[in-house]
């Protein structure tokens, strides 16, 4: 199993996976989870587009742990992650008006933007051949323990983790390597010694399963 997803799975096992599994996968629980992130963020993002610093601050507070956490998973270096997160939010400040609610939620828009930057950065660092020296060393450092924050409940975290845990190992590895390690799908197939068609279909099946489990429409 890939390192990142393994890490994701560590916590709920400690805390009782059964409880997470019994949470409803459709209906009110999902509504509540996304409630925090969707409608309010749309409004905040519109405010940011109007250059409202308070909306920007509120958007940052509502999303910073998701953005930074994802970026840090990809980059595995605190300094890079902090810089990239800063770049992400400055880009948000500058380009919020380009967000189109018809194309998806504000949270997805933000995390897509953040993931793009994180992947660009990890590839740039690899190209700079620091992977084996500074960068390689940095990857050995485990990120600090998750700091709990008020935006994301432990319940929500457990639920997502349980859904990730429901994937097959190959599905998880494909997601881990492509999404959290910034590999191209060709690199994923090389790493896993699996052919391209298999990798593509596992990624697709895995995402479909994850989506259904999370109740994402």
């Amino acid at each position: 199993m890939g390192a990142v997803v393994s890490q994701l799975l560590e916590r709920p096992c400690d805390q009782g996976l059964d409880h997470a599994v019994t949470l409803p996968v459709n209906g009110t629980e999902n509504e509540r989870v996304r409630q925090v992130n969707t409608a309010d963020l749309d409004i905040l993002l519109r405010g940011v587009a109007q250059r409202d610093p308070e909306a920007f601050a509120a958007l940052y507070d509502a999303t910073r742990s998701r953005v930074y956490g994802m970026v840090a998973r990809v980059l595995r270096d605190r300094g890079y992650s902090e810089e990239t997160t800063q770049d992400v939010y400055l880009q948000v400040w500058r380009t919020a008006e380009s967000y189109d609610p018809a194309s998806g939620s504000a949270l997805a828009w933000l995390l897509t933007l953040a993931h793009r930057r994180a992947v660009d950065r990890v590839r740039a660092e690899q190209a700079a051949t620091q992977r084996d020296s500074r960068y390689g060393a940095a990857t050995l450092e485990r990120p600090a323990d998750h700091v709990s924050d008020s935006v994301i409940s432990g319940e929500e975290r457990r639920r997502v983790t349980a859904c990730l845990g429901g994937l097959t190992e190959l599905q998880r590895e494909c997601i881990e390597l492509a999404y959290y390690q910034g590999m191209t799908y060709v690199q994923v197939s090389e790493r896993l010694s699996a052919n391209l068609a298999t990798v593509k279909s596992r990624m697709r099946d895995g995402l479909r399963a994850l989506r259904n489990c999370l109740g994402v429409r």
């Binding site: 992130n37 601050a57 940052y60 810089e83 939620s105 949270l107 995390l111 992947v119 740039a124 994402v216």
Partner: protein, 241 residues
């Protein structure tokens, strides 16, 4: 999420929706894929982008599992950066990326890169001079190229009576000399510190306290460990207005 597609080409394309949404396609393949979708017809394009959207929504929800608090200082830096509508723009000359950043933000990245947090920040948790400058409502940024190479950027606040200087890629002073900074007012020049060869490369920062009524920041080459008044060649001047 059941999409019906009526030909194998469409199915092929849909198989690439996850790699596409994951940024897991090389740029040339991504461009080629977008071209193919554009010519594959509306139904295929809709199905493809629906799937991309769903993948992104799914990963957005999944981000709860990897959530981690960023360093607390980031918030203040971002908020002061976006509040600084009076900040003049500059490009950071020595970074791979060409994205714009506001000057204060670029400076902050510079500060992180050169580790000002270790060298200049006081041990107490009170805001450092740099943080106070960034947070000031009247923060200004001035940047100039140095003829010998590199750039000097100063971010300053009259309210805080302080500034932060960042020099990037400036060639070191010759043997036996230093660069000396001067705050120049109508009544003369006051030394604001010196930099030797080790201090300069590749980036250096310095905190400027007590700006007083100075009108510019001047850099000269001075012998030995510096002078009490500017005597040597002027290498740069930045107006503090």
């Amino acid at each position: 999420m059941t999409h019906s597609y009526d030909n194998t080409a469409g199915a092929d394309l849909l198989d690439l929706a996850v790699p596409y949404a994951f940024h897991a396609l090389p740029d040339d393949e991504r461009d080629e894929l977008e071209d193919r979708i554009a010519t594959a017809g509306l139904a295929v394009a809709d199905a493809f982008y629906d799937e991309v959207r769903a993948v992104r929504e799914t990963m957005a929800v999944a981000s709860a599992a990897s959530a981690e608090e960023p360093p607390a200082e980031l918030r203040g830096r971002l908020l002061s950066a976006v509040a600084d509508d009076n900040v003049r723009f500059l490009r950071t000359p020595n970074r791979r990326r060409t994205v714009w950043m506001s000057a204060a933000a670029a400076l902050v990245v510079g500060l992180i890169t050169v580790g000002i947090g270790v060298s200049l920040r006081p041990p107490a948790q009170t805001p450092s001079t740099a943080e106070q400058v960034f947070a000031a409502s009247d923060v200004h940024t001035i940047s100039g190229a140095i003829p010998a190479g590199g750039t000097a950027t100063v971010v300053f606040s009259r309210d805080r009576n302080a500034g932060v200087l960042v020099m990037n890629d400036v060639p070191p002073p010759g043997p036996g000399t230093v660069y000396q900074m001067w705050l120049v007012s109508d009544t003369g020049a006051t030394s604001a510190g010196t930099m030797d060869a080790q201090a300069v490369a590749p980036s250096t920062t310095a905190v400027l306290t007590d700006l007083g009524n100075s009108k510019k920041l001047k850099f000269t080459v001075e012998p030995g460990s510096g002078s009490t008044q500017p005597t040597g060649q002027v290498i740069a001047e930045l107006p503090l207005i």
